[in-house]
């Protein structure tokens, strides 16, 4: 039986001082997660101050974005998971329509078209899909017993690939990868057999040439080639990787100190406020700093998985797990590309890089996690 907690408690039982406490306890917030996110953002602002060349205007713009992102988190956290589940197909459907709209009504110019101009504000439907795809797959698979049948796995893959292909066509390979992995994590968490997963990986490997020749744009191919041999393009993307490796490597064990990174302060490091901000961090805070940073990321991920494992139904469990793992993919892909382990695919360092859209989406995802965690407690009482 689902009871509403407020009604369970007799009215006379309330003490005068209870008002404030009840506001906080009724506010659906997971405090450990909140604390970790706050620390991470604090570090982000600190390093952005250095990377932007002590530019207060940049800091202010980022500050405004962070405030908006926190508000989004708090609002999303108040939505009960069953409401999320109810609206999931709509959310996904609208997202898909908007993606099509971007392709059809966006400027048909040569450049990438990711934005939809809604008059008052511009909107990036591909960001919305980062949440909508795992929600949809989780919603669909949680209808029936798990692990899912082959047919249901097939439908899930369709749910994942349709938006992923549309996003890759924009072209925005980084986001397409994140959206696809969010959906695939749901599938992996349902407990489909390892044999199937192995087959799937083999299939992907076979599909790689198709992606290379038909889906990737020239500049994306160029990035991969440059990744394989950075010295071939010392002026272009290769320059990014060469310079960021120098920044990281010269940082050493203890770093050069805050605001003292020569690579970053002397303009050698490109895109140092956005995608390559990790190199600035590594140069100024060294290996010790990196270990601390990775520890915070690990703490956030472990908290997320903890929330997932406590969740009480398949939908919330799968969703929480997938959102958490996608967050880790962000971290791995960004640091991997900045340190020359992976090709450069425009993925920001989550909650640290300068720029608004990804932060808002990420905080909405954490809002969902908090909602899953806190509404569960209410159910138990």
């Amino acid at each position: 039986m689902i009871a509403q907690p407020g009604k369970l408690r007799p009215l006379g039982d309330r003490r005068p001082n209870d008002n404030l406490t009840s506001v906080f306890s009724n506010l659906h917030i997971d405090w450990p997660l909140l604390a970790a996110l706050g620390i991470l953002m604090g570090i982000g602002l600190l390093i952005l101050y250095s990377a932007s060349g002590q530019d207060w205007a940049t800091m202010q713009r980022q500050g405004v974005r962070l405030v908006v992102a926190w508000l989004v988190l708090i609002v999303v956290a108040q939505i009960a998971p069953r409401h999320l589940a109810f609206w999931t197909p709509w959310f996904y459907g609208i997202g898909l329509v908007l993606l099509l709209a971007v392709l059809l009504f966006g400027d048909v110019g040569k450049g990438a078209q990711r934005w939809l101009d809604l008059g008052l504000f511009r909107f990036q439907p591909s960001e919305m899909m980062k949440l909508a795809v795992p929600m949809m797959v989780a919603w669909y698979l949680s209808e029936k017993a798990l692990p899912p049948s082959l047919a249901r796995i097939g439908v899930s893959l369709l749910i994942i690939t349709a938006p992923a292909l549309l996003i890759a066509k924009q072209p925005d390979l980084g986001t397409a990868i994140l959206v696809a992995s969010a959906g695939i994590f749901v599938l992996l968490l349902t407990g489909i057999s390892w044999r199937l997963i192995g087959g799937f990986v083999a299939l992907l490997a076979a599909a790689a040439p198709v992606v290379w020749f038909y889906l990737m744009r020239d500049y994306q191919r160029q990035r991969v080639l440059t990744f394989l041999n950075p010295e071939s393009d010392p002026l272009g993307a290769g320059y990014h990787i060469i310079q960021s490796k120098i920044a990281i490597g010269s940082g050493g064990l203890y770093g050069k100190g805050w605001l003292n990174g020569t690579q970053s302060q002397l303009d050698f490091l490109p895109e140092r406020s956005t995608d390559f901000i990790f190199a600035v961090f590594a140069e100024e805070f060294g290996l010790i700093g990196i270990i601390a940073l990775l520890a915070i990321y690990l703490a956030i991920v472990l908290r997320g998985l903890h929330i997932a494992s406590l969740a009480q139904d398949s939908y919330t469990r799968l969703l929480a797990g997938s959102l958490t793992l996608t967050f880790l993919v962000y971290v791995f892909v960004n640091i991997g590309m900045v340190s020359g382990l992976l090709p450069v695919v425009g993925v920001p360092l989550p909650l640290v890089s300068y720029g608004g859209t990804s932060i808002v989406t990420l905080m909405a995802a954490f809002g969902i996690l908090m909602s899953i965690q806190t509404h569960r407690k209410l159910l138990q009482s």
């Binding site: 400027d107 110019g109 040569k110 450049g111 990438a112 017993a145 798990l146 692990p147 992996l188 968490l189 349902t190 407990g191 744009r217 020239d218 500049y219 160029q222 393009d233 010392p234 002026l235 272009g236 993307a237 320059y239 310079q243 490796k245 120098i246 920044a247 990281i248 490597g249 010269s250 940082g251 050493g252 064990l253 020569t262 690579q263 002397l266 303009d267 050698f268 590594a282 060294g286 290996l287 990196i290 270990i291 990775l294 990321y297 690990l298 991920v301 472990l302 998985l305 997932a308 494992s309 398949s314 469990r317 799968l318 797990g321 793992l325 880790l328 791995f332 991997g336 340190s339 382990l341």
Partner: protein, 616 residues
Amino acid sequence: MANPETLKDHIKETALFSRRIVAAVVVIVLLLGILLARMVYLQVIDHQHYTTLSQNNRVSVLPIAPPRGLIFDRNGIVLAQNQPSFTLELVPEKIDDLQQTLARLAEIIRIEPSDLARFHKLRKRRSAFKAVPLRFRLNEEEVARFSARGHLFPGVEIQARLTRQYPQGALAVHALGYVGRISEEELQSLDSSNYRGTTHIGKTGIEKYYEDQLHGTVGFRRVETSAQGRIIRVLEEQPPVPGLNLYLELDARVQAVAEAALGERRGAVVAIDTRTGGVIALASMPGFDPNPFVNGIDSKAYARLANSREQPLFNRAIRGRYPPGSTIKPLIGLAALEYGVVRRDTRIHCPGWYTLPNDDHRYRDWKKTGHGLMSLRGAIRESCDVYFYDLARQLGIDRFHEYLSRFGLGQRTGIDLFGETRGLLPSREWKRRVKGEAWYPGETLITGIGQGFNLASPLQLAEATATLANGGVRYRPRLAHYFQDQRSGDIRYLAPQESGRVPVDNPDNWRYIIDTMKDVVHNLRGTAHRIARGARYTIAGKTGTAQVFGIKQDEEYVQEDVELHLRDHALFIAFAPIEAPRIAVAVIVENGGSGGGVAAPIARKVLDQFLLGENS
């Protein structure tokens, strides 16, 4: 009551999920381990190596933009070139008293408050040792004045850059196009390393179509800098590869004659070399001066151009869609002969109007009193509509569409410019698809005189005329003639491209039609006979007058009563010399009135200039 099986499933699912979470944690630790290992490798094991690199990282790579290829006409007249433009730059670090320096500079060089505002804004964003521009586009006098006193201004210098310049101004602007600053959006899809250092890119016309060839390949310079980033010396330099020079088929003199002949009128002239498809002239009037667009036209001037009722920015020659009117009669006549619908001696009586059986709608002739008994020859010469109503009815819309599409109508010509129109060659299938209606017999009649749904660009009409002159061989119209490597002088020609062939059933039919077109000009009863006066070569032509608006059944069109923008369009197509055709031309004068009186004389001037080299 709970179903025990679901309950069991639930427990099983939870257990499965927990196992997956454990697997996930293992993978996460593994991934973070990889990252950490990578960091240890970079920051501990290779630390010394990177520290050395970082300390020596005084070597910067600076791009050198390649000079853009020049554009010439077929006689070597320069149409687009690169001119040095001078920028006054200040290095704040080297200047002791900035305020005083600025004040003294203002005494010898004009500095607007907007220049100062931009300077201060840029200065705040750049390192003190980097040059900040104060004034762009200094004139030669200012450069000279500053050079004489340069030693008095430490930290101030003049930088020369190359800017695109169009010495002929508005001439052929719709063919040539222009370059402009690279936009955000273009930046996304460009080869970013080759465009590092490049500030401008082809925006329209030839400049855009041949961007890849004109641009060239970027060079770079490895320079040693001090710890603060100042350039100390150049270590290595790889010069850029300049873009290819482009020679056009376009003849600037013919183009100038065409534009002058159109004068203040709105319209277009397209002239094509019948032997190659080379575009000799592509005029769309009014035009505009492309030079202000290169470094960003100011918004007021742009608004004036964009909002003008004359539409100077619109390329009428390739994008304008006009009813071809009577200019398609030779093609329809040819179709009728080749399909055997009429014979060369078939005669029809023209009372000045035509009706379909069982319909009392009167399709009128432009000549109210009628032409009397008409042969096909007379019907083309005098442009009798009634003859062609009957001919179109017998030919039918399907054969009409089939035959005219062989001449390229209703399709893009494939010219080396972006954005050309397909025009519109109507068919049953088209009408069903677009209008959702069946084809009516009356529409066939109207189509037969080039009205109704028919729409063609001046370029299409010129191409179709060239095809007729060539005995059915169609060439893809092309502005570019050849590229030349600026350094080696090597030339790469673009061979003429055949884009189709109209099958010839009986060459006599073709000769006959061309002969009737000769009559249009060289027979005293021809609608364009006035332009034959003094011609030193033979011309085959056809006039056209295209209705802009419909008039009612019993109304009469009186030119003086009709508002200027509703008056008929004047058209003329021609090729010459008839014995060995070299040039085909199509002329359209918007609301010009009479094809023979207004459009034909323009064509004559163009033909004269090309064939005789005369300026009439």
